[in-house]
């Protein structure tokens, strides 16, 4: 059963350091391809660190591993992912006349996926 969340792509320290090491390094791909969730949301959905989830909206769909956010960093209902290729696949092309697409705080659906999922979606993560 899919649930609606609000996703916030953003910068992290590790995203910045691994970016310099190279966009094709495993570190960068792991950092920008892992979804952070509120621990209570993960528990409710029966998810553990490393489990894969499908995240999608009208613009795109990705399958990524998830992990619990540090402490109380993320409120329930909010997702975070390091800004990069994966997060941008969920971004629409319309900028509402501003030049800036909705790049933070937009709605997505999320559902857990099994290990055997044949993901036609963009698959990210390590």
């Amino acid at each position: 059963m899919a649930e609606t969340f609000i996703i916030i792509p953003g910068r992290t320290s590790r995203q910045g350091t691994t970016l310099n090491e190279g966009k094709y390094t495993s570190g960068y791909r792991e950092e920008t391809g892992t979804l952070q969730m509120n621990p209570q949301d993960m528990q409710r959905l029966g998810l553990q660190d490393g489990d894969r989830v499908r995240v999608w909206n009208d613009h795109g769909s990705v399958v990524v591993p998830c992990k619990a956010a540090r402490g109380d960093e993320l409120p329930e209902g909010i997702l975070f992912i390091s800004y990069g290729d994966v997060s941008s696949r969920l971004m629409g092309g319309d900028t509402h006349g501003s030049g800036m697409p909705d790049s933070k705080g937009f709605d997505v659906f999320l559902e857990p996926v099994g290990q055997s999922t044949d993901a036609k979606d963009a698959v990210a993560g390590p």
Partner: protein, 457 residues
Amino acid sequence: MATPAVPSGDSSAGTPTETAERPDVKVVSNATCTFCGCVCDDMELTVEGNRIVKARNACVLGKAWFFNHHIEDRPEATIEGRPASYEEAIERAAEILCNAVYPVTYGLSDTTCEAQRVALAITDWIGGTVDTTTSVCHGPSGIAFQEVGEVTCSLGEIKNRADFLVFWGGNPAESHPRHFTRYSLMPKGEFVPNGRKDRTAVLIDVRKTKSAKAVDIFLQVKPRSDFELAWAMRALVRGIEPDPSVERKTGVSLEVLRDVVERMKQARFGVILFGMGLTMTRGKHLNSEAVLALARDLNRHTRWTAKPMRGHGNVTGADNVVSWTTGYPFGVNLGRGYPRFNPGEFTTADLLARGEADAALIIASDPMSNFSQPAREHLKRIPVIVLDPKETETSRIATVAFTTATYGINTGGTVYRMDDVPIPLRPAFDSPYRSDYEILKAIEWRVREKQLAASAG
């Protein structure tokens, strides 16, 4: 073909010096880090051959920047993925630009002001559109400046005067690690002699990030309600009681908000430092406008300013160069022989997503990794010229790709710090690759030769 000299930075204070013990090692003092908008210019770099092995004063991001920009073994240029000579690549690039009807020049935030000027000149010669990564960064704040103005200050003023700091929609602890220690939160200044003890700091954000630990007051705002929060604060500053519904909307109690606003009114010098939590979220320029207007309103009581936290090393330079050249900061079309500014029409995210641009000149940027899917699809369909020191998704799809020297590490020039202060670069070691400036100058030269030949013929 012309191969103009690269402009050198002011090297008077940063002349590399060899050490007595290790004559093969040189030290570059007062070097400048160009990774983020802080543009810290107090680096001491130890260089062995073509590697930086030590970067004193650099933060974790700066160290990653300096230690990973060594010389890579890649072709100087490629055409359609195959290695090509520099001259062939310049010729093909000029041909693409001269044949295009609606070309766009994009990127520019990770190169020098000198290179930015040449990119603008090329765009002007071919009647194209010039846009920078500002449009998907603080472009909305640029729009907001035009609407409500900007009460501004330098980072030096913040360091020496600010006794109240509001960080809004950003996480400087991770995105600008030295901002706290060098410019805003921690340093001792002329009118804040005790540094951190003399300052009150507030963080307003949806996430309780690492930055929350550094501040005195954390206001956790609900997603997509920054505008409402800023508007409620404006009301309180003016002595108007906001509608109680603002508590439900923003998740911040009016009691807490009243207390924070009262403290802000009591400050001697306050500054709001706002990030892309405002500009990238629904509302965009209206969010920035609300915060800028709040800073303006606070000046009825005391001195307040507001500054955007800029990301890339010379994105502020891009704004300055495009503004002083065309009168507008980004998203400028030169197709009619005079500048026209229209975000949404002449911004790259739109030009590509709508399938309008028929060629692209991309300098030091990777839109194939961070633009929307329709924009990426279109970029794959049109001829693209890319200048980048690293291999990227965009250089991989480029018709013509140049490997470039890294600005600040291999080349001199000028960049602007996030507070619009120009800073000279002091390069650490030479690169076998040419600078953006040199390549763009050669493209410009060849474009003009072709245009003049066509008009004469």
